[in-house]
Amino acid sequence: MTLLIRNGRVVDPSQALDETLDVLIQDGVVKRLAAAIKPPGKAEVVDATDLVVAPGLIDMHVHLREPGFEYKETVESGTRAAAAGGFTAVACMPNTRPVNDNRSVTEHIVGEAERHGYARVYPIGAVTKGEKGEELAEYGDMVAGGVVALSDDGLPVANSEAMRRALLYSRHYDLAVIQHAEDPTLGPDGVMHEGEFSTRLGLPGLPGAAEDAMVARDLLLVEDNGGRYHVAHLSTARSLELVKLAKDRGLSVTCEVTPHHLLLTDRDVLESGLSTHTKMKPPLRSEADRLALVEGLADGSIDVIASDHAPHHADEKDVEFSLAPFGIVGLETTLALCLDRLVRPGLISLSRLVEVLAVNPARVLGVAGGTLKEGSVADVTLFSLSRQMTVNASRFRSKGRNTPFDGWKLRGRPVSTFIAGRHVVV
């Protein structure tokens, strides 16, 4: 099968490319990048005039909720949301029921993705059995089943000895250990960021120090024990300082931020009238934190943007703020939000955006993709910088409608995705 994507603006930071080119794809791989390629006979031709052609975007932090919570999301609905949002691959967190801490669960997820998937699915295995933070899960067996990284996301690996062992043992498989960094003993009843607005609302706070303390501890453990360490949904200025320091010291450390932590703050909790769509972990932080994250994204110290797509049923979210579960969806808003609120105002370049949404996630997870170099797998995302969209949660492909961005008008939006050269129809 042959596909020619014509006349698009090819943005591929993996080869420092940003120019109008044709992309020829044959048998699922990128065959040639050049201006005005003559379409071979029988080639399907896609006109990408006025569109950006990027390596397929990878959201390395999503919750597909299957198995166990199919009423919130399934592999099928979640990957459809991914495709609609411009993603060709997602990495799914293991806090399912049962927890993805063994090969049979991993294989179930992989199987569902093969049967019903609209995007590639890379399962992330649990660091510890049952995400209990004690005994190590069977990394080797899970890797054989398809696991590409480790995390107890939703919960931190709070026990220092368990974290140390995880860092050491994960080295056998060169797996990134992805930490949900939160000291659970600090601000144990917290439901929002501890600061001006928790003070005004009288709500128990989640102090930034709970994240910073765990990041700091982990970085010390990485320095002594090695391993590849990745901070999930980093949300504070101080955690970012710590990560920069560790990178300066040559440690193998990376981090991700979410669009909501780049665009919203704890003020939005108050101003939304305590909408449960402003409740997630880590919580929306202060404006100073938000500005530091935007700066870190621009200066290269933040490696990845990931959505932390966390679907919940409307009945679960339509309750008292303090009782609502943490989390919001993001697969269908991430790209458009980043284009409209980060790239359009010039906070980051388009090439930088592709780097954090495609190139770096592939590198952190150690998976194919994240590049359009000749010979590489032909996962491609097409998006527009000029077409507009209004976020409409009721029309999401995801089962989750829990977004604080409903009704936002955005310029720039996903257009289509291709996996191994095949157009994904959502």
């Binding site: 009288g202 009238g273 305590l274 008292e320 303090s322 009782l323």
Partner: protein
């Protein structure tokens, strides 16, 4: 009397009220206070109106106060208690709201452990909703009755120095009082142990200090807060004994306030913890006046909200 009409459907937060609206409530309460002094303590103002008292948290004082206010206005009132714990209750808040709406009450008085719940309810029912305390966020009728009491004693609110002492972090009384007193031009100082002070306290528009004497120096009003001994397990301070030594109001310490300073407490009091008995029962204490005024202020709020409904054709 102030020449403004009451427009609001609900009373959810002091922050929703203008200075003129606060004045209107206080002035209206003045005219209702006389009713409680009559031999027959009843007026027909709310006859035929249904008021539901929905208390998801235990409350004796606030609930009785509302109930008496409702009865003195001849409303038909109904009490409904439940637990606000999501684990215990069988019905979601949304369903509770829909069921209440189906019974077509005119007013709903709600107390709930979680902040924002009165607002959630108000968005879903056509009845007027009165917040009788939500989490540590707000307790608007308490702030109004405190303001009424201060105004009775001092003749004004503007320019007064008011000290509030105790558990600032967990007190809804404090938050609503600060909003009201700031709106009316009083000057508020708060004090308490650092473990009971919210992190960004000064963003509330108050001066925060960490000693009782400093807080009440030159104060016109000293408001002591209840130490929530039920929160004690969370170890906010080492012992009741040490708390009283540091932040308990004694006759001796009260000397640093103005000579005519009044002492207030929203109740229920822990004698010998935040306040010494001789101060609580002493001549400067207006604690029982607060309780009496609470009925008049709640009558005023019920009356104004039901009037707003009539004008809106409800």
């Amino acid at each position: 009397m102030t020449e403004i009409a009451w427009q609001q459907k609900d009373l959810l937060s002091i922050a929703d009220l203008s200075a003129a609206e606060i004045q209107l409530v206080l002035d209206t309460a003045s005219s209702f206070r006389e009713v409680s002094a009559r031999p027959v303590k009843k007026v027909p103002t709310l006859r035929g109106k249904t008021v539901i008292n929905l208390f998801f948290e235990p409350s004796t004082r606030t609930r009785s106060s509302f109930e008496i206010a409702e009865k003195r206005l001849s409303a038909d009132s109904l009490n409904f208690s439940a637990s606000s714990s999501g684990l215990v209750k069988g019905e979601s808040l949304v369903d509770t709201a829909l069921n209440l709406q189906a019974m077509a009450p005119d007013l709903i008085v709600i107390r709930h452990g979680h902040p924002g719940v009165p607002r959630m309810l108000a968005e879903r029912v056509s009845a007027g909703v009165i917040n009788a305390g939500d989490g540590a966020w707000g307790h608007p009728t308490q702030a109004l009755l405190d303001a009424f009491t201060i105004r009775e004693e001092k003749g004004k609110l503007e320019g007064l120095k008011v000290a509030m002492v105790g558990d600032i972090a967990h007190s809804r009384v404090v938050r609503s009082n600060i909003e009201l007193l700031n709106t009316m031009g009083a000057e508020v100082t708060v004090a308490g142990p650092r473990t009971m002070m919210p992190v960004a306290v000064e963003t509330l528009g108050v001066r925060a200090v960490y000693s009782l004497e400093e807080a009440i120096r030159g104060a016109d009003v000293v408001m002591m807060l209840r130490v929530q001994l039920e929160r004690h397990k969370k170890v906010m301070f080492p012992s009741v004994r040490e708390y009283f030594q540091l932040f308990g109001l004694t006759r001796e310490r009260l000397r640093s306030a103005k000579r005519d300073a009044i002492v207030m407490h929203p109740g229920p009091m822990n004698r010998g913890v935040e306040i010494a008995s001789d101060v609580a029962d002493g001549s400067r204490s207006v604690i029982l006046e607060q309780v009496a005024n609470g009925v008049a202020v709640r009558m005023a709020v019920l009356y104004l909200l039901s009037g707003a409904r009539q004008e809106a054709g409800a």
